[in-house]
Amino acid sequence: MSDNIVEVKDLRVHFTLKSSLAQDAAGRRKKTVKAVDGISFEIKQGEILSLVGESGSGKTTTGKAILGLVPFEAEKMLFRGERINLKEKEYKRKFRQSAQMIYQDPYQSLNPRNQVIDIVTEPLVVNKLVESEEERLELGKEALERAGLTPGEDFFFRYPYELSGGQRQRVVIASSMIMGPSFVVADEPVSMLDASIRTGILKLMMDLRRENDLAYLFITHDLSLAWLISDRIAIMYLGKIMEMGDSEIIISSGKHPYTKALTDIMPKPGIKKEGPRKVLQGETPDPTDVIEGCKFCSRCPIKEEICSKEEPPMKEVEPGHFVACHKV
C-alpha cells in the first residue's frame, strides 16, 4: 500500500441535461455537460490538495464524485489503495466513516429541525457506537469542544438558527470529525463566512489535521487562500486540470497561461504592482458546447493552431509539477 490516501485516474462525470418533450420529438441530441472530463491526481496521507477554479469548473463535482455522491466513470478511483466500492455494504460503512465532507453553506448543511447535540452525535447513533445516553452526551461534548465550541453542553439543545455562521460551521466540523475520518472534502468551507471568522475556522481545520493526520481536498475559488493553506494546488478549468504542483511553485512560477492569468491578478503583500494588469478576456464557454482541442483556447492569449485541434496532454515539466499546455 502506498502512502496515497486517494488516487484518482481519468475521472469523468458527465451529466445529461433533461430535454423537454418537444425537443425529444424534434429529435434533437440530448445535451451533455462534461462537468469533470478526465482528471487524475492523488492525495497523500496528511496532505492538503487545493482544487482551484472558477464556478462551473467541476471542482465541487470532483469532490462529490470521490465521496460517491454523484455517478462517475474512472479508470482508477482508490482510497487507501482499495477500489471505492459503495455497492458493498461493509466497505461502504467503513468508507463513509473515514471520508467526510464539509459544505460551503453552513446555513443549509444543517437540518433546521434538529438540535446541535443530535446533529453532532447522529453518526454515532446510526452506527450504534454509543451504548448509553451519558456516553452520547459525553462524546458530543468532546466533539463540540474540539471544534472550539466551549463549554460544549451550552450548545447541546440549541437549534442551528440560534447560532452564528461561524458557530454553525463549527457544528458541521464537529459532526464530520466525530467518526475520526482520515480524509475530508472541504467544499469552500469559509467562503460564506465573514472575514473575521474565516481565520478561526481555517485554524481549527489545520489543528485537526495536525492532531489526526488528516488529508484534505480543499475546494476553493480563492487562489491566495489555497496558497496559504495547501501543500499542493491543482488549477481546474472546464472539467480539466490545467496545472498541478506544489503551491509555492504554482504561485511563483506557474507555466500555464490560465495559471498565469490567475496569479497575475492575485494581490501580493509587500509588492507594488507595476504596469496594467493582464485581465483575462472573454467568458467561460457554455459547458454544453463540445470543445475540440484545449478547453482554454478560446481565451488563451498565446494560442496557436494546434491548440484548437488537439487536446494537450499532461506533461511533467519538473518532478511533481504537471502542466497541460502545448506551449510549455
Binding site: 462529490k64 465521496l67 455522491l69 461502504k92 460503512r93 468508507f95 463513509r96 466513516q97 471520508a99 467526510q100 465532507m101 459544505y103 460551503q104 453553506d105 443549509q108 448543511s109 444543517l110 437540518n111 433546521p112 429541525r113 447522529e122 453518526p123 446510526v126 452506527n127 437549534y159 438558527y161 458541521v172 459532526s175 464530520s176 467518526m179
Partner: protein, 322 residues
C-alpha cells in the same frame, strides 16, 4: 417565548371571528329579498298582519338596535329562526354536523395518508414510471369537477354494479334495528362518498408533498447526511420527510376547515344528510337565517383550523417563534 406566540395567535383568531360576525350580519342585510315576504308568503296580507309579524321579528326596530340584538343573541347561542323549518337555526344545523364530520373526517384521513405516501414515492423515484403515474393521477383527479366524479361514481357503483346504496346515510327503517346492524348499514352507505371525496383530495396532497420533498431532497443537509453514510431510508425518514411535512400542515389545516363547507356537491349528489346538503336546500329556499348560521360555522371552522395550524407549526418548526 412560545406562550407569547400562542396568546398573540389567540387574539388574532378572536378578532377575525369578530369581524366575521359583523360581515355576516351585513351580508344578509344587503342580499336581495325582503324577509317579510319570505316569512309570510302571502301576497294578500293586510297591513295589520304585516305590522304584527314585523314586531314579532323585531324588524320595526332601527338597524343599530337590530345589530346589537344580533350580537346579544349570538353570544347566547341564538342564531335566529329558520324561515322554512320555523325552528331555531341551531336546532336545524345541530343534527347535521355529525354526519358531515364523519364523512369528511374519514375522507380527509384517507386522503392524507394516501396522498402523502404517493407524494413521497413520486419524489423519491423522481422521473420513473411511478412518479409519472402518480403525477398523472394527481393532476387528473385534482382538476376533476366534484359533482361530475360523484355522479360517475354513483352511476357506476350504485346503478350499474349495484354494490352500494344510492344515497342517504341509512336504509329506511334502520332506526328500529339493533346497534350492530345499524352500524354496518351506515358504513355501507359511507364507503362511496368517502372514497369519492378522498380521490378529490389526494391529488392536492400528493402534489404538495412531492414538491416539498423534492425541494428538501436538494438541500445540502440531505447530501451531508448521505455523505455520513446514513442509509437512504434513514435519510428519507429522519431528515427529508419531517422537513417536507411543514407545508403539508398548512394545507391539511385549511382543508380541515373547509371540510364543513366543501361538502355541498358531494353531499348533494349522495343525498348525505349533512351540512353541505342543508346549505344547498337553504340556498334553494332562500332560508337566510340558516345560511347565516352555516356561514358562521364554516368561517369559524376555517379560523380555528388555521389557529391550530399556527400552534402546531410552533411545535414542529423550531424556527417559528416570532
Amino acid at each position: 417565548m412560545r406562550k407569547a406566540y400562542i396568546i398573540k395567535k389567540t387574539i388574532y383568531a378572536l378578532i377575525t371571528i369578530l369581524i366575521v360576525l359583523v360581515f355576516n350580519y351585513i351580508l344578509f342585510r344587503v342580499l336581495p329579498g325582503d324577509p317579510l315576504s319570505m316569512l309570510m308568503r302571502n301576497p294578500k296580507a293586510t297591513p295589520e298582519m304585516i305590522e304584527h309579524v314585523e314586531a314579532m321579528y323585531g324588524l320595526d326596530e332601527s338597524w343599530w338596535v337590530q345589530f346589537v340584538t344580533y350580537f346579544e343573541d349570538m353570544f347566547h347561542g341564538d342564531l335566529g329562526t329558520s324561515f322554512v323549518y320555523k325552528e331555531p337555526v341551531t336546532a336545524v344545523i345541530g343534527p347535521k354536523i355529525l354526519p358531515t364530520v364523519i364523512l369528511f373526517g374519514l375522507a380527509e384521513i384517507l386522503a392524507i395518508f394516501v396522498g402523502i405516501l404517493l407524494g413521497i414515492i413520486a419524489a423519491w423515484k423522481r422521473g420513473t414510471k411511478a412518479d409519472v403515474g402518480t403525477l398523472g393521477f394527481a393532476l387528473v383527479t385534482y382538476s376533476m369537477p366534484t359533482f361530475w366524479l360523484s355522479m360517475i361514481m354513483l352511476s357506476l357503483f350504485c346503478v350499474t354494479l349495484q354494490i352500494f346504496p344510492v344515497g342517504g346515510m341509512e336504509s329506511p327503517g334502520m332506526a328500529f334495528a339493533d346497534m350492530g346492524t345499524r352500524f354496518v348499514d351506515i358504513l355501507h352507505h359511507l364507503i362511496l362518498p368517502v372514497i369519492t371525496m378522498s380521490i378529490l383530495l389526494i391529488g392536492e396532497y400528493a402534489l404538495t408533498m412531492r414538491n416539498a420533498l423534492m425541494d428538501v431532497l436538494e438541500e445540502d443537509y440531505i447530501t451531508t447526511a448521505k455523505a455520513k453514510g446514513f442509509s437512504s431510508r434513514y435519510v428519507l425518514r429522519r431528515h427529508a420527510v419531517p422537513n417536507a411535512m411543514l407545508p403539508m400542515v398548512t394545507i391539511i389545516a385549511i382543508n380541515l376547515g373547509l371540510v364543513v363547507g366543501g361538502a355541498v356537491q358531494v353531499e348533494t349528489v349522495f343525498s348525505w344528510p349533512g351540512l353541505g346538503n342543508l346549505m344547498y336546500e337553504a340556498l334553494n329556499s332562500r332560508d337566510y337565517p340558516v345560511l347565516q348560521g352555516l356561514f358562521l360555522l364554516i368561517t369559524v371552522c376555517v379560523i380555528v383550523a388555521n389557529y391550530i395550524a399556527d400552534i402546531t407549526y410552533s411545535y414542529i418548526d423550531p424556527r417559528v417563534k416570532e
